[in-house]
Point group: C2
Chain length 190, copies 2
DNA sequence: TGTAGCATGTAAGCCGTTACATGATTGA
DNA sequence: TCAATCATGTAACGGCTTACATGCTACA
């Protein structure tokens, strides 16, 4: 295994990937873009994490920074370099595909339902259902905003994927609530 | 905010929750149970993490350990205490419901599809599709094994949820592959 | 005038992983 | 006899978060 076979942490490629769509962005703007796109399938990194990644990427020559401060307003934009594109492409194509990581607090609560107050458990699932619904609404909005710009063809594909994915999750949650409200005990799952 | 409003890390409740189903378990067995149940909605903790949690839980009086070594074979079982049940119940009912955490490497690769080789991208999605299919098969097996034991009523509900959840994910992945194989460019999402 | 948003960073600390280390039992 | 499984832990490390710290701009 050569040195070239090693990769940066995934979060580095999230940041680098956001910059690969073209515009130079500030750390703050990268966060905004992440909240409007990658957060549907990846945790949006904390601001401090983004700045750290940018430092790491710059040190590796994968991005360049440019000080565009206006007056006293600090503003540093970052842009992807040729080497950055090469490295991102290498990762997308060659990195082993890791398994998804899901941490689903509502499912964990349901799993431990025997320790819960029944009404409270239903409430928790309803709260989760609202969260999924809100997310689906956000997703639809984002998708609409992507318009027909061909440079966002893949993000639009992801939006489509997300629509089905979270749609399935909403249905699953709704069914769980229905079953729970009827009667848990003695029911078979079939 | 009183001291009582603070909670242990989520992973502690995963371990404690597994013990709440009854039998005394070794650390190793807790891992097996996690792989057969919670892993469908939570990362299965590393062995070292499980032992650490058990140490923490025992220090807090939420579990007790018992040395059941046979001959030279080390074997320490853990069981939940009364206080452990109280604490778990408190967490299930009173802890704020965190948002799900998803890290979806296949979706990230699709998002960055403009940096990928098209055929390779399709391959990656197919690999993910196989992963989902395998997981669905495992889930069905687990569900069947749960039989009609009333103490596993909630885990069965979760299995049912998982069936729909991962079913949605499989469909979403399949559609993405189909679209990708047809033609990405110039397609609208509608 | 004051709050929300824009913008950048450091410090501390937990979570959780991989690597390392050890050794017995079971079955092919 | 050799590999897989059972079984338990320690050490080192990286990832990522929250808390802290600072200060400007736009707008209500």
């Amino acid at each position: 295994m050569s040195v070239n076979d090693e990769f940066l942490p995934d979060s580095s490629y999230v940041v680098l990937g956001l910059l690969s769509f073209g515009p130079r962005l500030t750390g703050y703007e990268i966060r905004q873009w992440a909240l409007g796109s990658t957060r549907f399938f990846w945790t949006a990194p904390a601001m401090s994490q983004i700045y750290r990644e940018l430092g790491r990427l710059e040190a590796a020559g994968l991005v360049t920074s440019r000080d565009e401060a206006v007056d006293d307003r600090a503003r540093t934009t970052y842009g992807i370099t040729r080497r950055g594109r090469t490295e991102l492409s290498r990762w997308v194509n060659d990195a082993p595909l890791d398994e998804p990581v899901f941490r689903h607090p509502a499912a964990l609560r349901l799993f431990l339902g025997h320790m819960a107050d029944r009404d409270r458990l239903v409430e928790l699932l309803q709260e989760h259902h609202r969260w999924v619904s809100d997310l689906l609404a956000d997703l639809a909005e984002v998708d609409a905003g992507l318009a027909d710009d061909p440079s966002f063809a893949y993000p639009r594909l992801v939006a489509q994927w997300g629509h089905r994915f979270y749609g399935g999750e909403r249905r699953a949650t709704r069914e769980a609530i229905t079953t729970l409200e009827a009667d848990v005990r003695g029911r078979s799952i079939d």
